[in-house]
């Protein structure tokens, strides 16, 4: 039995044709949708930053952002300053929120100076300092925004992930986890950076202890939780010097 589709030349031609068709279709689609996609990502960043400082539409149990149509407006209204910290210097830059934390991290790894964005927000007379953090979960990248007061006490946090397991690691973006960070201290009494550990069995499920440098972990999501601890430790530590200058 020999069909024409069995011949080598047909197979080669088919394979080449298919690659060309599929490749150009996807390339065309990706490039024509790119402006929409990057705009969506930009607005999402604004929503994330606002969420961390408490500007959101949360109901009793769900995390809900301000709507995309007003995100830009609210961002201008609440975020008073956007700083870029480079070594000992810092400058204002109203595009600081577009700084790619991933790129800056790899720059630092290769010996360069890293640009650290910090957003200063004001709401109801209180000042919030919001810093982006980024790290590794179980499967892929995890990141977030942490809002702090001038003593580095956490006022709010937002976490997100690229591909953590639904129902387990993916739950870091749910309120029951994120809300635990509110009020936690990052510095000990003498001003040394301690971080916040996502801990199993810390005997504090209601999270009443705010100076134990621990929050309750999610069952079945140990590695994602460790990733959250690690990115808080490595990334927020870099801001300690800046917070010291606030005290002077």
């Amino acid at each position: 039995m020999s069909k024409k589709t069995d011949s080598n030349s047909y197979t080669m031609i088919f394979a080449i044709g298919m690659v060309l068709v599929v490749g150009s279709l996807l390339a065309f689609l990706a490039s024509s949708l790119k402006p929409n996609i990057s705009e969506n990502k930009r607005i999402e960043k604004q929503q994330n930053i606002l969420y961390a400082m408490g500007v959101n539409e949360n109901d009793a149990s769900n995390a809900i952002f301000v709507s995309t149509s007003v995100a830009e407006q609210e961002f201008q209204k609440y975020i008073k300053k956007q700083l870029v910290i480079e070594g000992d210097n810092f400058s204002e830059d109203e595009k600081a929120y577009m700084i790619d934390v991933k790129k800056e991290k790899s720059k630092a790894k290769n010996g360069g100076t890293r640009k650290l964005p910090l957003f200063v927000g004001e709401k109801d007379g209180e000042t919030f300092y919001i810093a982006p953090i980024r790290g590794k979960g179980l499967w892929d990248a995890i990141w977030g925004y942490v809002a702090m007061d001038e003593n580095m006490i956490v006022q709010g946090a937002y976490f997100d992930h690229k591909g953590e397991t639904p129902g387990l690691g993916a739950n870091i973006k749910y309120r029951f986890f994120m809300d635990d960070f509110k009020g936690e201290h990052l510095l000990d009494a003498s001003g040394n950076f301690k971080g916040i550990r996502v801990a199993k069995g810390n005997n504090d499920p209601k999270n009443d202890e705010k100076t134990d440098y621990e929050v309750d972990a999610i069952a079945g999501a140990t590695i994602t939780g460790d990733g959250v601890s690690a990115m808080i430790k490595s990334d927020l530590k870099l801001y300690v010097d800046y917070f010291k200058t606030l005290k002077q």
Partner: protein, 215 residues
């Protein structure tokens, strides 16, 4: 069924019971283990698979006479990957929040054995309409198992359903928890999904002895 002939209707109903993709064909186990820790994820995954398998089966069926048999598996993989990426891109551009929910599942859908299995076993040898029905039927059969497993894992593991606390508050000790009930955190781990699937298989085979293989 007026719309479908008896034979066509069987294409939909068979996978729901005696030819279930998970419990009988043993396809798609990986995703059944991975994402059934909560009911919502099970439902989202089921709907995504319904869409991709229904459409993918039709595309493969339309191409079945021109696909070179030597590279058919690669062709199938390209078709499903292309479909999933197109959907992902369009959602990212026009329904960003929905795409955030689905993004985790994209990789799982492409590598889901059910999809490749049905392409290979059915769509390559049947017409588009029949293939479409087969795709829908199999994804519904997949959905049934995912939802049953997701239901029990979320209920017993977290005491919630679709994120709503149905057994009371475990920290405030209300509802069932007031009587000393505790969530079984073990249910949230993948091995328990395997055990739940095993129990379903047991129930199904003891109800229908014809399914038991002889050896």
């Amino acid at each position: 069924m007026g719309l479908l002939s008896k034979k066509d209707a069987k294409l939909i109903t068979d996978p729901l019971t005696d030819n279930n993709p998970i419990t009988i064909q043993v396809l798609g186990i990986c995703s059944a283990l991975a994402i059934t820790a909560e009911l919502k994820a099970s439902i989202v995954m089921s709907v995504s698979v319904l869409f991709v398998l229904g459409l993918g089966n039709v595309v493969i069926s339309l191409m079945r006479n021109i696909i070179p048999s030597k590279i058919r598996i690669i062709v199938q993989l390209i078709v499903v990957a292309t479909l999933v990426i197109i959907v992902d891109l369009v959602l990212k551009a026009f329904a960003y929040e929905l795409s955030k929910t689905l993004s985790v599942f994209v990789g799982l859908i492409i590598t889901n054995c059910i999809i490749m299995g049905r392409f290979e076993a059915f769509a390559l040898g049947n017409g588009p309409w029949k293939s479409f029905l087969d795709g829908v039927g199999n994804s519904l059969g997949y959905a049934v198992i995912l939802i049953i497993v997701g239901f029990f894992r979320e209920l017993l593991g977290s005491g919630t359903l679709l994120g709503i606390q149905v057994l009371g508050d475990p920290i405030e000790k209300t509802g069932l928890y007031a009587f000393g009930y505790e969530n079984n955190g073990f249910m949230l781990l993948s091995p328990m999904a395997l055990i739940v699937v095993g129990l379903i298989i047991w129930v199904q085979r003891s109800r229908n002895q014809a399914l038991i293989e002889e050896n």
